[in-house]
Amino acid sequence: MQYQSQMVAKPYFIAAIGLFVAQILFGLIMGLQYVMGDFLFPEIPFNVARMVHTNLLIVWLLFGFMGASYYLVPEESETELHSPKLALALFWIFLVAGALTIVGYLAVPYATLAKITGNDLLPTMGREFLEQPTITKIGIVIVALGFLFNIAMTVLKGRKTTVNLVLLIGLTGLAVLFLFSFYNPDNLVLDKMFWWWVVHLWVEGVWELILGSILAFVLIKTTGVDREVIEKWLYVIIAMTLITGIIGTGHHYYWIGTPEYWQLLGSVFSAMEPIPFFMMTVFAFNMINRRRREHPNKVAVLWAMGTAVMAFLGAGVWGFIHTLSPVNFYTHGSQITAAHGHMAFYGAYVMIVLTIISYAMPMMRGRAAANSNKSQVMEMWSFWLMTVSMVFITLFLTAAGILQVYLQRMGGDAALSFMVAQEKIALFYWLREGAGVVFLIGLIVYIASFFVGGKERAETA
């Protein structure tokens, strides 16, 4: 670690992992509620558990992105962070605001929370993923602006690398697009249309720039390949991302009241969305094959390769499966969407945050370039446990989704009602829950890997 101020990333990473654990616990609760409907009812109804599960995911990924930025921007800029104090202050503001929001979700009925937080003044609550009280949303904007200011000032004062610029563009896009969460018209169609400007243009747009730049940074550091080569491909990949992804938004505009030409445009452009992910996979493996040195932190390289592969599978392949409008007509809003969502988020965003944590943490904990072998082996176990179980979660949900579509949406008059169809596919939900438990075990192993082999040194430092 070259700059003292990079250390502010540490609390961000720790908070991210903590919230990750909570997210998975609530995921398991939901999974159980899928098959044991009355589990924790009425204390924690499904909608509350889901809100906690998804919001925690977003919040801990944001913590991860911020931590990643605080870690890599000083190193890339070759200068200390503009204001480590601001970074720390924002950390606590964000953590407390996030925690209070989650407590609010759990402690009082959602309608009460809406009332207390003054949703009447500017109603923004109650939309998928944007359930946060308006005041929390304002807090997010403030934290995002402060964070952006801090990062931008650092970049401006130091060396301007491609990694930094792309990251900055991604983070700015993230903040700007979030502003659409304040637009909530009475007209449901308009509401949904611009809701996607937050959700789609985040995960299939600007977040991919953040993902790309973090991956490029880790590859530069661990492979020793010429920065020029890696940055060149970074540009090509993110160019492809935006070329396909922006009009690819159209694949959400098939059935929400928007004009039908989106079925053509959305299908064509989103069918191309796997391409940048495929390029990213080829790129990562290529760079690692061309590596000029053996970095002692093998597990970080493993995470990086895992990101490239799983992002392609989850976001690329599983996205493509149901992106064409004639297919999506039947699969829209089924468990197939859930399957895609799980693997895409894990493969692209969870894994990239774990990649940078895996790369940066040993150095921030004063362990030279890498953890001891013992610790690394344990972390690799967690990698495989989590990744394989996520593959199975996805496969089980896909099977459930195919059956659901078949039973509920095909077969004319003989089609089953939603609830009856759900009972028929309960077996797959049980299997999914089982895979979820393995995932949790993987996560526990992951956390345990931080606490083993501290005294031993990595084999090759």
Binding site: F46, N47, E128, L188, E228, I246, W255, Y330
Partner: protein, 144 residues
Amino acid sequence: MSGAFTKSMARNIFYGGSAFFIFIFLALSFDTVRALPERDHRENITPQVALGKKVWEENNCIGCHTLMGEGAYYAPELGNVYNRFGNSKEAIIGFIKSRPVEGNPGRRNMPQFNLSDEELEAVAEFLKWTSEIDDANWPPNIQG
């Protein structure tokens, strides 16, 4: 000259290509917003429908149900519930009202939200309005 592959060209393509596609997307969005009035029947968005949407949001219905296929997949699609319930607002209201506070043992349960009569009417009206949006004939059948 052959054989060049430069970072500056890759960068130009990123900026140029992105700007190009953002522009096209904005143009299409503009056309969409102009075309919407014929599809969303906004003339029927009464204050009651607007209140219904607010009730829908403030009870986080989207946390279990889908609405036009978007939301959670724990409970039935509601974009066409008005039609599924025999084009009856009363049936919708009756269903929401009759949810037991402690739930039915062993089954997926909808909470009892204790909505006022005005709110119940509003949410039913909202769901009726939603069912009339021209959404390219989705879902494939009445089961949603």
